[in-house]
Amino acid sequence: MDMPVPNAAVIAKKEHVVARLAEVLPEGAVIHDPAETRAYECDALAAYRCPPMAAVLPGSTAEVAAVLRICHEEGVPVVPRGSGTSLAGGAMPTADSVILGVARLNRVLEVDYDNRVIRVEAGRTNLSVTGAVEADGFFYAPDPSSQLACAIAGNIAMNSGGAHCLKYGVTTNNLLGVTLVTMDGTVVEIGGAYMDAGGYDWLGVICGSEGQLGVVTEATLRILPKPEGARPVLMGFDSSEVAGACVADIIKAGVLPVAIEFMDRPCIRATEAFAGAGYPDCEALLIVEVEGSPAEIDEQLGLIKQIARRHDPVELRESGSEAESAAIWKGRKSAFGAMGQLGDYMCLDGTIPVSALPHVLRRIGEMSAEFGLGVANVFHAGDGNMHPLILFDANTPGDLERCEAFGAAILKLCVEVGGCLTGEHGVGIEKRDLMGVQFDPVDLEAQMRVKDVFDPGWLLNPAKVFPLEASAGRRAG
């Protein structure tokens, strides 16, 4: 993975920059000892590491603004960081950069049930947002699997999704306002407890901008009343084509499940060996979950089973209790852990049109043989967001490179069939150099022009998202 050559002039004035930062931050909030900056050398894409020049942990929007003003004046690149769970290397530093961590900004500022919003500081973890309102019967809908650790700041920067996004949407559909600090230290208030923008949709473009337009310090989020209940049904099929057709029929029938999860045979076998959830040994497995009162759930599951039966399932198991629901979800929830037992793996995140599912799965199987690496598929089938897991051995020379080549081939396939490189994990450094597969230079140019407006000097997380050669002229300037 190429990263830009660090700016020697910046590194040379490290002491000066650190001293200036220490002036505007409390004791202990500036980390510059190489032994300690190591803690920030990578995010969850741990294959790539580089300690930053320094890391700062401001405790207020004003402190964030002061830090950015100094870095702006000194020409120091800044990499914003939430909890460091990015799977795309979005929070990976460069040697000449300052990591700006928002973990200390973690307070709930306001809970307003009548308006169904919560305002939090952006370093607060995703799960603890729901935690703040669930006793009163509310929840925050976007729920990435990393929700125990990941921060709202990172969710906004990556426009993260979750298991329930088929019904409730992803972060951008649940975000009403932010406090954003731009690279020159200007504090900008955008949106609030009301709906939709009066002018341009700033929130829309900030959400998913991977920390390149500004640092988010506060957020107003939509909260929802909890449904009365939820229950899944599990079904197994002899072929992924049939499973795919069943998904399309469920969707067309007007049922709106909260989740439709798909697992293929390699994934089923791995999770069975690991978790013993009692899944059938079949080609494709679907878990479909619906919400409502007990009678409403019965009505929807009845219809879903009726549709499934038309596709000759090898297994059709409806949950009748909390315990049975947990058993059905047990395998799916341990899929990643189970794959980890088999060795190292790389998790991809492309999205495809649901109709292309059988073709794509067949091609992935063929490519698995060509590259000589195993692959298992877990899949948000309702929206086409794939998570192929490629198995490799980090200790075998050449295996990582082969795995990356295989991954790139899968992502190109996703684009070819009308999909995209990443459905929820973001581009970061991981998919940066594949952007040309999905976009023409003029498309990337249009996106980079937005960054030019917010951050003309390209100091904020500059080496991400855009192919290095495409952004070279701007980063140098």
Binding site: D114, N115, R116, N159, G169, V170, T172, N173, T186, V188, E189, G192, A193, Y194, M195, D196, G198, G199, Y200, D201, G204, V205, G208, P225, K226, P227, E228, A248, I251, K252, G254, S293, A295, E299, Q300, T351, P353, S355, D383, G384, N385, G418, C420, T422, G423, E424, V427, M435, Q438, F439, V442, D443, A446, Q447, R449, V450, D452, V453, F454, V465
Partner: protein, 400 residues
């Protein structure tokens, strides 16, 4: 008027333009400052590009009439969930509304509270920027975080950042049945209380509106028949108190009622109409007392109290004017408009935005039609326009 028939011709027309362009879809939503310039119609770019009912996705050319889009979707029992209004009712226009005009205005109706806005259903765009370059963003899949989200930026930018040539949507199935639970004789306090209770319930209300003129609060439920009946019963119990509660289950009656709310029919005869978006709680507290007391204007309240349409007749405006030494109806409306936008800018009230939707050109030319943004955002907006439209030829002045 220029009327290109393909995206390439559209790009050529923009690239070759010698001066300002007035971008037209169907000419039915003349909202915003009047624009001087040569008319460029997108209506020639028409037709469905791709429709996959099983994947709930539609890709369509921007000049396609909205009616055609809705007809095609209805054929498969699907729809645009965000329920775009027909501005012809309120504005008295007669053109053919296009899907591009809907997107350019981020036009969303009553279902916005449950299913999201136009921008939430929009998953891809193709557009021609002010240089004449064809740009693609998003695509045809629901989950996509590849690069910046210019899709949302284009929604609501009213042709000032680019001319849309193609748009892609996530769709939803038309539910099996619908019911509206109506609370009668509701004053403001009762109405807001009822809408708030309904929205805090788990019953997935897909429309919550108050018609002050009639004293009715309408709460819509959609889904499978059994589920709708169950939720209607629960909602009815939730609203028990003063005022009769009735339930309407007829499909036709429901369609008519929600079309009337969506299109703000109650204010169709008013000369001046504003659209105000605020937190329901702030709306409930009322616009500042002097605004409220000075004249009793007519209103339609939607989005569970988050959206308020305010209508003023010529007579009401003329009556309002002298209190501020203003000479005539338009001067009165200008004064009201300024006060209204000042309210929105007052942080004490929690923020929001007010837009002048209907009024004579003299009025629309005299005031900032859209809510003026705070200085840092206004600077970013100028920066964006300079990047996407360096010659300043796309609907110049429309959005500031």
């Amino acid at each position: 008027m220029m009327r290109p028939g393909t995206e390439a011709e559209l790009a050529e027309a923009v690239a070759a333009a010698a001066g300002p362009l007035r971008i037209l879809g169907g000419g039915t939503r003349p909202v915003g400052r009047p624009v001087e310039g040569e008319a460029l119609s997108v209506a020639g770019l028409s037709g469905v590009v791709l429709y996959e009912p099983g994947a709930l996705t539609l890709v369509v050319r921007a000049g396609t009439p909205l009616e055609e889009v809705e007809r095609v979707l209805a054929g498969e029992g699907q729809r645009l969930a965000f329920e775009p209004m027909d501005h012809r009712v309120l504005l008295g226009g007669s053109g053919v509304p296009t899907i591009g005009g809907v997107v350019a205005g981020n036009v969303s109706g009553p279902r916005r509270v449950q299913a999201g806005a136009c921008r939430d259903a929009l998953i891809g765009v193709r557009f021609v920027d002010g240089r004449g370059a064809v740009i693609r963003n998003g695509g045809r899949v629901m989950k996509n975080v590849t690069g910046y989200d210019l899709v949302k930026l284009m929604a609501g930018s009213r042709g000032t950042l680019g001319v849309l040539s193609e748009v892609a949507f996530k769709l939803l199935p038309v539910p099996e049945s619908v019911a509206t639970v109506t609370l009668h004789e509701a004053d403001g306090a009762r109405a807001f209380e009822a809408m708030t209770r309904a929205m805090k319930s788990p019953f997935e209300v897909s429309g919550a509106a108050w018609l002050p003129g009639k004293g009715e609060v309408h709460l819509r439920l959609e889904g499978f028949a059994g589920s709708v009946a169950y939720r209607a019963g629960r909602l009815r119990a939730l609203l028990a108190g003063p005022g009769e509660v009735t339930v309407e289950t007829g499909a036709e009656a429901n369609a008519r009622l929600w079309r009337a709310i969506r299109d703000v029919e109650a204010l169709a005869g008013h000369a001046f109409v504003w659209r105000v978006s605020m937190a329901p709680g702030a709306m409930r507290a009322g616009l500042r007392a002097d605004l409220d007391r000075t004249a009793r204007f007519d209103r339609v309240v939607d989005w569970a109290g988050g959206l308020c349409w305010i209508g003023m007749t010529e007579a009401q405006a003329a009556d309002y004017a002298p209190r501020f030494g203003a000479a005539d109806a338009v001067a009165g409306a200008i004064r009201f408009h300024r006060d209204l936008q000042a309210e929105m800018a007052d942080p004490e009230l929690g923020g929001g935005h007010a837009t002048l939707v209907k009024g004579p050109e003299a009025l629309r030319a005299a005031v900032p039609v859209f809510q003026p943004e705070p200085a840092p955002l206004a600077a970013l907006a100028r920066g964006l326009r300079a990047q996407f439209d360096p010659r300043g030829i796309l609907n110049p002045g429309l959005m500031g």
